[in-house]
Symmetry: C2
Subunit: 114 residues, 2 copies
Amino acid sequence: MLCPVTFYKALADDTRLKSLLLITEQQELCVCELMTALELSQPKISRHLAQLRKANVLADRRSGQWVFYSLHPALPTWAQQVLKQTLLANELYLAPCRQQLSLISERAVTQSCC
Amino acid sequence: MLCPVTFYKALADDTRLKSLLLITEQQELCVCELMTALELSQPKISRHLAQLRKANVLADRRSGQWVFYSLHPALPTWAQQVLKQTLLANELYLAPCRQQLSLISERAVTQSCC
DNA sequence: TTCGCATATATGATTATCCGCATATTTAAA
DNA sequence: TTTAAATATGCGGATAATCATATATGCGAA
């Protein structure tokens, strides 16, 4: 059972909120994708993702050397809807991140990964 | 224009979240009502309300010696919906506060105020 | 004007949060 | 088994949030 204030503390940071909204939009992202999308250091991303994991907001799945994060399957419906609404109503907030994300997906066609 | 992360920082504290949800539910509440509803000190309530006021989440209206707080008229629709959804999906979170609130409204019939 | 109630704010101490840096862990490939 | 890539975490140090206490302000009544 997710306490509302715990949930909102998870959203109360720029790095975490952007990560969460990007994951809401893209279903699943790995750490290196978030690193380049947000243009932030690896430990910083990783630490915030760990917080979201501990709060049961995100779930992680390892696939080889990559760890993919997605919304936790047990995340309450109301919390999911809050994320979706925030995403839809704040299109521009994620624009620079999407820009960066699109660059790696192009690169990924030719090169190995992130 | 309200930045999403600013809004969620406003919700990321127990006192503020409960105050906001109570105000969402009751339309308008004064400081002394929130004090007894949350069973917290006057300066503590006042300081958190000031934060919400500065963030343009709440609006204040003075009526004699009382100051009534309500959701800011310019609060974006998405933010209003987030509050409403949180309220509906977390009935029990506010139960003790409502209990305390009902006690003063009974008292208010006979006595002066809060 | 003086008093009392409701509310706001200043101050200093405590605590929580966030960060960079270094290092550990896990996995795949050589 | 050594190496490199991806990810996680330990450890201070800096910054910000929160709190309790004391005090200030604004308003109505006497």
